[in-house]
C-alpha cells in the first residue's frame, strides 16, 4: 500500500544491518519485542529510520494527492448533505497529510524536503490516485472501498513500533470511520436509487476494481528484508494478508447491494479460507507508479500550482535567522 508496496531493498545489496552497534541493536529489538514504542530521540538502526521516513512520507503524500480525485467533485456535489459531507471528508484527507508529515518530521526529514520530493516525482504515493474520478459515482466508490482498504492498513500499522506514527494513525483511524460511513451511504443511495444512478455506480465500480485490487501492493516475495521489517514492526502484515482481509470484509457487502464485481474468478475458497481472483496486472501497476498513469502529470502539476500560488505568502512571513528545530513527538 502506501509503504508496503514501496519498501525498497537496500540498493547496494549490503546486509542492511551492516555497521550497526550489536549491543544497541539488541536493546532496540528487545524493546520492540516487549511491545514498547520507539520514540524520536531513541537510538535506531539506519535502515529502520530510512524505511519509516519513506513509509510515513509516502502515506502523507497519498493523503494530500488523494484529496484531488474526490476534490474534483466538491463543486458539483448534489445537495447540501453530500456537499458538506464531501468537503469535510476531503478536508480530513489534507488534515491526515498534515499529521503524517509531522510524524515523519520527527525522524529528521524536513517538510520542505518531503514536498519537494513529491513534486519532482522522487517520492511515491499510492498508485490508486493516479486514476481519474470520471463521474460522481466514482467518488462514492473511492470514499467507500479505497478508504476501506486504507483503514485495514492503518489499523494494522497503528500497532507498529514507532510512537509518533502510531499516535498519528490512532487519530486518523478515528476520523476514517466517518469516511467509510459517508462512502458506503453514498454507494447505497446510488445502488438503490434510479436505474440511471445504479448504472452510474456499477460503471464506477467496473472502472475502479482494478486499482482497488492493486491497492495493497504486489504479493510480497519472502526475503530477509521483509522478515527484518516485520520483526521491527515496520511492516505489520504482508500485502496479500491485507488484501485478503479487505476482500473478506467488503466483497460480501458489495454483493449485498446486487452490484457485480467485474472479475468472474472472484470467489472465496472455503476450504483454503482464501479469496481467489484474477491476478492483477502488476506490470501496469509498475508503469503507473513510475509516472505513466492517466493522471500522474496532472496530480503533480496541481501540487506545483498550489505551492506556487502560496510562495508569496510563505516568503512574506519568513523570519530571518530562524534555525531549524525538529518537532518533538
Amino acid at each position: 500500500m502506501y509503504g508496503n508496496a514501496l519498501i525498497e531493498k537496500n540498493k547496494n545489496g549490503k546486509n542492511i544491518l551492516e555497521g550497526e552497534d550489536p549491543v544497541k541493536l539488541a536493546e532496540f529489538e528487545t524493546r520492540i519485542d516487549r511491545g514498547e514504542k520507539i520514540e524520536p530521540k531513541d537510538w535506531m538502526p539506519k535502515e529502520y529510520r530510512r524505511q519509516l521516513i519513506r513509509m510515513i512520507e509516502q502515506h502523507a503524500h497519498s493523503e494530500i494527492i488523494g484529496a484531488l480525485p474526490e476534490g474534483t467533485w466538491i463543486t458539483r456535489a448534489p445537495g447540501f448533505r453530500r456537499k458538506l459531507g464531501l468537503m469535510a471528508k476531503v478536508q480530513d484527507e489534507i488534515g491526515h497529510g498534515q499529521l503524517l508529515y509531522s510524524a515523519a518530521e520527527t525522524l529528521g526529514k524536513s517538510r520542505e524536503e518531503m514536498l519537494n520530493d513529491l513534486i519532482t516525482g522522487k517520492s511515491k504515493y499510492s498508485n490508486v490516485f493516479n486514476y481519474p474520478a470520471v463521474t460522481w459515482a466514482d467518488t462514492a466508490i473511492i470514499a467507500w472501498l479505497i478508504d476501506a482498504g486504507a483503514i485495514i492498513n492503518q489499523v494494522a500499522n497503528s500497532k507498529g513500533s514507532y510512537g509518533p506514527y502510531c499516535r498519528a494513525l490512532d487519530r486518523i483511524c478515528a476520523e476514517e470511520s466517518f469516511h467509510l460511513k459517508y462512502g458506503h451511504d453514498n454507494v447505497v443511495y446510488l445502488a438503490t436509487g434510479t436505474p440511471q444512478q445504479r448504472e452510474m455506480v456499477q460503471e464506477a465500480l467496473n472502472r475502479w476494481w482494478k486499482p482497488i485490487m492493486h491497492f495493497h501492493g504486489p504479493p510480497d516475495k519472502a526475503s530477509q528484508h521483509t522478515e527484518i521489517l516485520m520483526r521491527w514492526k515496520v511492516k505489520m502484515a504482508t500485502n496479500d494478508d491485507m488484501r485478503q482481509k479487505f476482500l473478506d470484509e467488503y466483497v460480501p457487502k458489495v454483493w449485498d447491494l446486487g452490484l457485480i464485481i467485474p472479475d468472474p474468478k472472484l470467489h472465496k475458497n472455503e476450504t483454503a479460507g482464501k479469496w481467489e481472483y484474477t491476478e492483477p496486472d502488476w506490470e501496469e501497476f509498475k508503469r503507473v507508479i513510475n509516472g505513466d498513469g492517466p493522471c500522474n502529470k496532472e496530480r503533480l502539476g496541481v501540487r506545483r500550482m498550489a505551492q506556487e500560488k502560496g510562495r508569496w505568502v510563505r516568503e512574506a512571513l519568513l523570519k530571518p535567522n530562524l534555525k531549524y528545530s525538529i518537532p518533538l513527538a
Partner: protein, 139 residues
C-alpha cells in the same frame, strides 16, 4: 490541460521545469499543540502545526486539532522552546514504581488487628454488626 476537474481546467498548471523547490524553513517553524477538551481537564499534547507566528499558530491549531473534537482551550509552544528529558536518562525513573511505601495499597494491617483482638478478647464491631444483620435476615 484537459482534466476531469473543472477547477483545474480554469487554471494554468506550471511546468515541471518552472518549479522552484522549497528552501529550508519556507514551511515556517513548528509549534507543539496542547488541547483541553473541557474546563477542568488537563491540556494534552496532540501534535504540531507549522506557522509563521503565535496568532497564526493558534488559528492553525484550532483547525488541525479543534476541528473534529470538543475543545475548550488550546496552547501552542514553539518546538524549539520545549525542554524535554533525554530518553537515555529514562533509567532515572526506573525505581519509581517500586517505592510502594508511597502507595495506599502498601499499607495492610488487618491481620495484625485480628490477632490482637483474639488475644485480648476484643469484639470487632464490624464483625458484630455483620452477625446481627445475618440474624435479622434469617428471621
Amino acid at each position: 490541460m484537459n482534466s476531469f476537474d473543472p477547477r483545474i481546467n480554469r487554471v494554468k498548471l506550471p511546468a515541471l521545469e518552472e518549479f522552484k523547490p522549497l528552501e529550508p524553513l519556507q514551511e515556517w517553524e513548528t509549534y507543539e499543540v496542547f488541547h483541553q477538551k473541557k474546563r477542568g481537564d488537563q491540556h494534552i499534547h496532540v501534535g504540531i502545526v507549522h506557522a509563521p507566528d503565535n496568532d497564526t499558530a493558534l488559528m492553525f491549531a484550532k483547525e488541525s486539532f479543534g476541528r473534529r473534537r470538543q475543545t475548550a482551550n488550546l496552547w501552542v509552544v514553539k518546538s524549539r522552546d520545549v525542554v524535554p528529558t533525554d530518553y537515555d536518562d529514562q533509567d532515572i525513573f526506573e525505581t519509581t514504581p517500586e517505592k510502594t511505601y508511597r502507595e495506599a495499597s502498601d499499607y495492610y494491617c488487618m491481620d495484625r488487628i485480628r490477632k490482637y483482638q483474639q488475644e485480648h478478647g476484643i469484639v470487632d464491631r464490624k464483625e458484630l454488626r455483620r452477625k446481627e444483620k445475618e440474624k435479622a435476615s434469617k428471621k
